[in-house]
């Protein structure tokens, strides 16, 4: 019975990680095609990828886009959550619904809507436009996480801070934000991850400065190559570092 459970575990993890494992393995392929038989290992595709200026520019774009758009989404989401959790506002149920609604809309629809809107107001496709798109998709997430995390003990701590002479801005910055740090950081890292590998919005809303997923897609159009595996592995590595960092700094602290 015990052996069976372990077998199930192995199959389960295999199912999840085999594709990634194969991707990483064939990024070390010596030959020109990322298909068996494996010959190598070789780092030449990594050298090529890291030497590719377009690819590196796209990677940098993606990174900046993810970090900045997530920060904006987090600030806006947190402020909205705080306002709706603390104050009785007219139509707050409706507002909450409207804030979360974009989560249920497909990225394609959001992208098409933004494309139409930006064309109408004369803001052409650009990294900025994509950034706005990513704020649109990540704001509901940040809002929902922050809103769910706000509890009664936060309210009384905020009240105590006000009682001791803190202005609203200082209550937010010195009390609410630090007390909610674990969920807020979790929301931020999740947003960064979503923005980092988002394709449809970036594809429709960028033109010259593209993000990494868009660049990878254009690489794929010229056929399979271990270079795509290599860049894919790098993307995966960044995500792993992000998750490990979150585990170390956020979740561990939350337990303490």
């Amino acid at each position: 019975m015990r052996a069976l459970s372990y077998l199930y575990l192995a199959v389960l993890y295999g199912f999840i990680f085999l594709p990634v494992g194969v991707l990483v393995l064939f990024s070390f392929q010596e030959g020109r095609l990322p298909v068996p038989p494996f010959n190598g290992p070789s780092l030449k595709w990594y050298a090529q990828v890291l030497g590719d200026r377009d690819l590196m520019a796209a990677l940098l774009n993606s990174l900046v886009l993810a970090l900045v758009s997530s920060a904006i989404a987090l600030v806006l989401g947190f402020l909205a959550a705080h306002a709706l959790a603390r104050h009785r506002l007219p139509g707050s149920v409706l507002m909450r619904g409207l804030l979360i609604a974009p989560m249920t809309v497909s990225y394609l629809i959001i992208a098409l809507g933004l494309l139409t809107l930006f064309n109408r107001i004369g803001l052409g496709p650009s990294l900025w436009a994509t950034g706005i798109g990513h704020v649109v998709i990540n704001l509901p997430l940040c809002f929902a996480i922050a809103y769910a995390a706000m509890g009664d003990h936060h309210i009384s701590a905020e009240r105590a801070a006000r009682d001791l002479g803190a202005s609203e801005a200082r209550v937010l910055w010195l009390i609410s934000v630090p007390m909610l740090a674990p969920p807020l950081l979790a929301a931020y890292f999740l947003s960064v991850t979503f923005s980092w590998d988002e394709f449809i919005i970036a594809f429709l809303l960028t033109r010259f400065e593209v993000t990494l997923p868009v660049e990878i897609w254009s690489m794929l159009r010229s056929g399979l190559s271990p270079a795509t595996n290599a860049i894919g592995s790098l993307v995966f590595l960044v995500s792993v570092v992000g998750v490990v960092a979150m585990e170390l700094f956020v979740l561990r602290k939350a337990k303490a």
Binding site: S156, A160, L164, G165, P178
Partner: protein
């Protein structure tokens, strides 16, 4: 710092619920006032109005001669010790206690020195770098007190701060609160529903019920000569006997009693159990002992007066013993209060 508080004609309603009705109360500087009453009597609402967390619908609040009715909590010379302590979990005790000074623009060395002084006063100087979650309930309590007093408020508001502690710790904290209040001289306004706690710490007790003040006075006065029936029964166990003035005294189910009353209309005779017994100035007539139980400091006995067998009078008899159950004795009272029914 210390200051007097003047509450003038304060009324407040939450929706359709009238929480406070025409409250007038003057508190002297340096006084330890306890707002006492059952839950829902409006005492916490009144405290919130003093702290600035609730704006009264009518009336005004004056602190140190200044109208504070519409001043926000952060600009008031009051601080609050909250029921759930409301310590900042992400800060050390030192930073918790120093927070108010930080908000007042004090430099770190100044506020740390002051915070250490306050922590020392509550006996927690050795734990200055600890976080709140490392402390016991009683210790958190002390930190909350130190934090509220660190900014040297004119008035300290205490919202049922001892409610979550066990009996022994509560008694100990009552003594400490009283001692600290004497030391710092700040005006304390303390809310509780526990009449023993009120008597243990208060200079004056304000008994509240259904949004109104029933009685105000020193513990002894409120206990021995309550101003209202509610106050009389809330302050402790009491025998209530209907009475009617008859010109020279009163008529009661026990028979006529020689207690003078100038009041008209139906009255209620109030007898504390410890003032009722086998000797005294006021003869209550013969009664049969129906039940007795030993309570440590006294025997708690139930008597059925022969004149009114359906009535049960409670009396506290000395530890030394009680008459046999079923026997008939003459009951007396050493003091009694007559209130309008």
């Amino acid at each position: 710092m210390t200051a007097g508080v003047d509450i003038r004609g304060v009324s407040h309603r939450f929706g359709t619920h009238q929480a406070l009705t025409a409250i007038d109360l003057t508190i002297a500087a340096g006084e330890f006032i306890v707002l006492l009453g059952p839950s829902g009597c409006g005492k916490t609402t009144l405290l919130s109005i003093l702290g600035g967390f609730v704006q009264p619908g009518q009336g005004s609040v004056w602190i140190n001669g200044r109208d504070m009715t519409h001043v926000s909590p952060k600009d008031r010379p009051t601080t609050t010790m909250f029921q759930d302590y409301a310590l900042f979990p992400h800060m050390s005790l030192l930073d918790n206690v120093g927070f108010g000074l930080r908000m007042r623009g004090q430099s770190r060395p100044v506020r740390n020195a002051r915070a250490m002084e306050m922590l020392d006063m509550v006996g927690l100087a050795a734990k200055a770098t600890a976080r709140p979650h490392e402390l016991s309930g009683g210790q958190r309590q002390r930190v909350a007190l130190a934090r509220a007093l660190a900014v040297d408020p004119a008035v300290l508001l205490l919202d049922e701060p001892l409610g979550a502690l066990d009996l022994k710790l509560r008694r100990q904290m009552q003594d400490e609160l009283k001692a600290i209040q004497r030391r710092v001289g700040t005006t304390f306004v303390h809310v509780t529903h526990d009449q023993e706690e009120a008597m243990a710490i208060a200079d004056r007790i304000v008994v509240m019920n259904a949004g109104k003040i029933e009685d105000v006075g020193p513990p002894q006065k409120v206990y021995l000569t309550p101003a209202s029936l509610f106050s009389a029964s809330f302050m402790g166990e009491i025998n209530l006997i209907p009475a009617t003035p008859n010109g020279t005294g009163i008529d009661t189910p026990l028979g006529p009693l020689p207690l003078g009353s100038t009041a008209k209309g139906p009255q209620t005779l109030c007898l504390r159990p410890e003032n009722t017994g086998l000797a005294g100035d006021i003869a209550l007539g013969p009664a049969r002992l129906t039940e007795a139980a030993f309570f440590g400091t006294h025997f708690r006995c139930h008597f059925a007066p022969l004149a009114a067998p359906d009535m049960a009078l409670t009396a506290h008899l000395p530890q030394s013993g009680h008459p046999a159950i079923g026997s008939t004795v003459d009951l007396f009272a050493t003091s009694a209060t007559l209130l309008s029914a």
